[in-house]
Symmetry: D2
Subunit: 150 residues, 4 copies
């Protein structure tokens, strides 16, 4: 039986409810499809590090959330968990908003790997790159109920 | 001229002032010396992910802060910046406090690399491991002034 | 039904037959148990890089083989495959033999993650560190036949 | 004084002389410019792993050599050394030749980071992805002499 893909609204609601730090850091899901997902970091408190640039953990959060949105759109698996992530901080991120875009490298039955690029907007200067692997839960999730319940 | 090491109080003050997300997530520096540093994540809002475990970005923040504390104690370089980090999420972190401990793998002139282990306390169950490299600023920082100013 | 662990001789034979570059690079399995495995790189051709130190790919081979030996001893799964590896080259490796030691960080049902340290011998100077994750095949391998057949 | 870029022939000669495992594995530099470099793995002995696919260390060698070729073409620094690499093995590589392509993510004064993709040819199926950081030697190398001398 085919599984209906989650709508963007369902993905936003699920992430907002399940991951309170997205609200805290002011992260919005802009887009989530089979080929790519994008999230944006807007103005907010608490996001800087010594020197005034956007702190690494906030950029890590962007990379993690955008990959999770991609998985929700592609593999429909809210119980997927991060196995590992490697993040390269290429240049100081001095200007908001930041946009993180994830594309799939592997969309397997058990493992999902994405490439993530974080850029300053407007301008598109690349500030960070990450690759991350998630373990999928394996079972096809029932999507007829409330997708917010994990 | 020899540089006086930073005291634990100076390191705490510098991190609290420069990195507001430590206060937000309730991260405290327990210890910072040449051989290891330790930080603790206490009870706090905003830290969970779908499923109820401690979110990856919060664990990333622990690993990043503990390495920064180790660098402040070892290389006295507040202008050091994270080049990259690889973090492995080994088991769901279900119980607070978490403690992250960093030890140096390379304390070079230009690069500093640390191994970080994150454990649940009490009990000591390992929940995550990370390796991270920082670029040192190269100049010996002036420590006669306010170490909080970077 | 319990599975008999592979003996060190079975592990050596399986690796020699399946992975010809171990012979090429002169890599020997010294030890393989549930808690750690160790391999040694002896004198051999082809192993250096510009500057005269041991080339990165040879050190990567050490880290990959020692983890595979650890998995054979721990999870008895010859069909395990490398998902990813992060390797940090900490200092030039100028002196042989090198010894790589792997210890488990996660020995799960589906994923196996190890920490690997490569040192110059004698002396024990740390030259590289790696973390690597393997995907296990999931099925219990039949060990009554020839373990060299994968 | 401007530094003349290395020609493809100089890069090939330097790599062949300095890194004997490229000859051993049958790795050829196809292209090396400021924007990308490409290398090819041809038929050869010793390259397989249990199961018959191309062994991880051979793919690591491809990623390492193609990044070194990119650095020689971009930063003209034969004394550059690998700091770290993260490699994701996405699918078994069953068919030769493999082609690895590297593009720069950061071409800094002290650090160089590249993204590498390894594909089966013909067909272009992606089998591995890597990111790697090199430390540059900092000094502008004298290119008037024999570039093979490092």
């Amino acid at each position: 039986m085919a599984v209906d893909p989650w709508t963007l609204e369902q993905i936003r609601k699920h992430i907002d409810e399940g991951l309170p730090l997205t609200r805290l850091f002011n992260i919005d899901v802009l887009e989530a499809g089979r080929d790519r997902a994008r999230v944006r970091l807007g103005e907010g408190a608490h996001a800087t590090r010594p020197g005034g640039s956007i702190a690494g953990p906030v950029q890590f959060a962007l990379a993690d959330v955008v990959t999770y949105a991609l998985i929700l759109a592609t593999s429909h698996d809210p119980a997927a968990v991060t196995v590992d992530m490697t993040i390269n901080f290429l240049r100081p991120a001095m200007q908001l908003p930041l946009v993180a875009e994830a594309v799939p490298l592997r969309a397997g039955r058990r493992l999902f790997t994405a490439d993530v690029r974080i850029t300053e907007q407007p301008g598109g200067r690349l500030v960070a790159q990450a690759t991350t692997t998630y373990a999928l839960s394996g079972g096809t999730p029932a999507l007829t109920g409330d997708p917010g319940r994990v």
